[in-house]
């Protein structure tokens, strides 16, 4: 279980103390898939980075499986089973896709390497040896990012806008993989930060973060009415474009 207790985080904004997170309290339980949503700049990614240890909170505590991890480094948190798929993954000159997957999971065998790439829609033949440099498109690097979080099979996996930058064709497949990995996995916690109208309704819980606070929290049927106006396409009637992929 992951417990966030009274987490506050402030940054220095041109000499001014700006609070990004203002006393957040959330309990994440194993076996559940959480959707975090809310407007841009509301604090979603900051919260994810506080959980991973990338940002230090100014106040509050984080407990993971009963242990206070507030002062642990990124490395120590990773080794305790926290994984984070970056919204904008960095690129590396000279490291290949295969290298990164092997760092993510040192005991990975050839079969799992290939399966992991195929799962995110990348042909192992074409991608295992590819450099993780600027020659990869935004969508490709994003899929690799998701692949290396999936392959770790961590106790807690956070996906930061997995659909951002990925073509429509691939989104559904990625979402399905994340769902099938976590939906009925009673040991793992998955958190997806998303605005996707197909993803949110299938989460077990939705947390709405706005202006640095938890504005609402509950089952999709409770939360969806509060946010659907902001998320759903308002022009669908006029547009008459059919939804090609829809998760039922």
């Amino acid at each position: 279980m992951l417990e966030i207790k009274n987490i506050t985080m402030a940054v220095d904004d041109h000499g001014e103390n700006k609070e990004i997170l203002k006393g957040i309290n959330i309990k994440f339980e194993p076996g559940k898939l959480y959707g975090i949503t809310g407007p841009n700049g509301g604090g979603k990614t900051s919260l994810a980075k506080v959980i991973m240890g990338i940002y230090k909170p100014t106040e509050g505590h984080i407990y993971f499986d009963g242990e206070d991890i507030t002062d642990l480094s990124i490395t120590e948190r990773a080794r305790r089973g926290i994984a984070y798929a970056f919204q904008q993954p960095p690129r590396f000159k000279g490291l290949t896709v295969q290298d990164l997957l092997k760092i993510a999971k040192p005991d990975i065998d050839n079969n799992l390497l290939r399966k992991t790439l195929r799962d995110v829609g990348l042909c192992p033949e074409d991608y295992l040896e590819r450099d993780l440099d600027a020659s990869l498109s935004g969508g490709e690097i994003k899929r690799i990012e998701i692949a290396q979080v999936l392959v770790r099979n961590a106790k807690l996996s956070i996906f930061d806008e997995p659909e951002a930058g990925v073509d429509l064709w691939t989104i559904q497949k990625l979402i399905h993989i994340i769902m099938s990995n976590y939906k009925n996995n009673d040991k793992a916690i998955a958190i997806i930060i998303t605005h996707n109208e197909n993803v949110l309704p299938v989460c077990d819980e939705i947390i709405l973060i706005k202006d640095g606070v938890v504005a609402a929290e509950g089952r999709p049927d409770e939360i969806w009415p509060l946010i659907c106006d902001d998320i759903e396409c308002k022009k669908r009637q006029e547009c008459r474009g059919e939804m090609i992929y829809e998760i039922k």
Binding site: A78, F86, P90, Q148
Partner: protein
């Protein structure tokens, strides 16, 4: 003179040699050839005047490798040698050069290797030169290689020059002349640390129509080391040339990167890219979020970059 275990340590570091290889080979230790053998296609002899090597590769020789490493183990040794390599028409060969210095003394050890390479019509050459130094003494380990390469019509060469560890001072000069449809690729990998200094000066002249040249340099400067990289490409006719120098700077190091393009024909297409910067914080965070420590993350990034 026999080669001892220490010699093989150094030979292994510069040329991946754990024992004396079959085929054409010349191992130079402290100023003299201690192992020399020719093969039926590759003749190694001494130059009548200055005593350096003359390596002649018969036309049409395929898939052979020549090893010509140099090691310095005597303290305070200064060694200068002129070597000539002639790669015959349509041959396809690999030359493994390289120089390793073991110096535990307080006096400087220095090797100046002057190489002239001629790649004849239609031949293909791969040339690898690795530099390596070891030993705890205060004496500097100095390497000043100088290479002149001529690439004739339709010939190609790939030069890989690597210096990763232990060389205190180096000035590398490379000059190349490329003939019609000739092709040259120079790959440099360099890591300096401590108070090391490394300078590389490359001048390439594309003289033949449709010749092409590529220089790819990746370097890392740590501690208070200094690097200077100068690469100048001259296109005298319709040709293609590209210079890419990419450097990671750390600690109190200094890097100067000076690519130059000189076009003397309106059909010369020449480009360069140069970048110097430190390791991006995001890269470290990414690797740490996969369970590496910060030190491991830095090492992984540098190893990949210099691969």
């Amino acid at each position: 003179m026999k080669l001892n275990n220490l010699d093989f340590d150094v030979l292994n570091a510069v040329a991946n040699l754990k024992n004396i290889p079959s085929g054409a080979v010349n191992i130079r230790k402290d100023g003299e050839a201690v192992v020399r053998s020719s093969s039926s296609n590759i003749k190694i002899s001494s130059h009548p005047e200055h005593g350096g090597l003359v390596v002649e590769i018969k036309p049409g020789t395929k898939n052979e490798t020549v090893h010509v490493p140099v090691i310095l183990t005597k303290p305070g040794m200064r060694d200068k040698v002129y070597n000539t390599f002639i790669v015959g028409e349509d041959a396809e060969v690999t030359i493994i050069a390289g120089c390793g210095i073991h110096n535990t003394s307080h006096s400087d050890s220095r090797h100046d290797g002057i190489h002239e390479i001629i790649v004849k019509k239609g031949a293909r050459l791969k040339y690898a030169e690795k530099h390596y130094g070891q030993g705890e003494g205060k004496g500097k380990r100095i390497l000043n290689p100088s290479t002149i390469i001529r690439i004739e019509e339709g010939a190609s060469a790939e030069l890989e020059m690597v210096q990763i560890k232990g060389v205190d001072d180096t000035f590398r000069s490379t000059v190349a002349y490329i003939g019609e449809k000739g092709s040259l690729k120079i790959i440099e990998r360099l890591l300096t640390h401590g108070k090391q200094r490394a300078e590389s000066d490359i001048n390439i002249y594309i003289e033949g129509k449709d010749g092409n040249a590529q220089i790819l340099s990746r370097s890392v400067a740590k501690d208070s080391s200094e690097q200077v990289f100068k690469a100048s490409l001259t296109g005298k006719t319709s040709c293609f040339g590209h210079v890419e120098c990419d450097a990671i700077i750390m600690d109190n190091a200094k890097i100067k990167s000076i690519p130059a393009l000189i076009a003397e024909d309106s059909d010369a297409v020449m480009t360069h890219e140069a970048a110097i910067g430190k390791i991006a914080g995001e890269q470290l965070i990414k690797l740490m979020s996969l369970g590496l420590t910060e030190e491991e993350a830095v090492e992984t990034i540098l190893n990949g970059f210099l691969r």
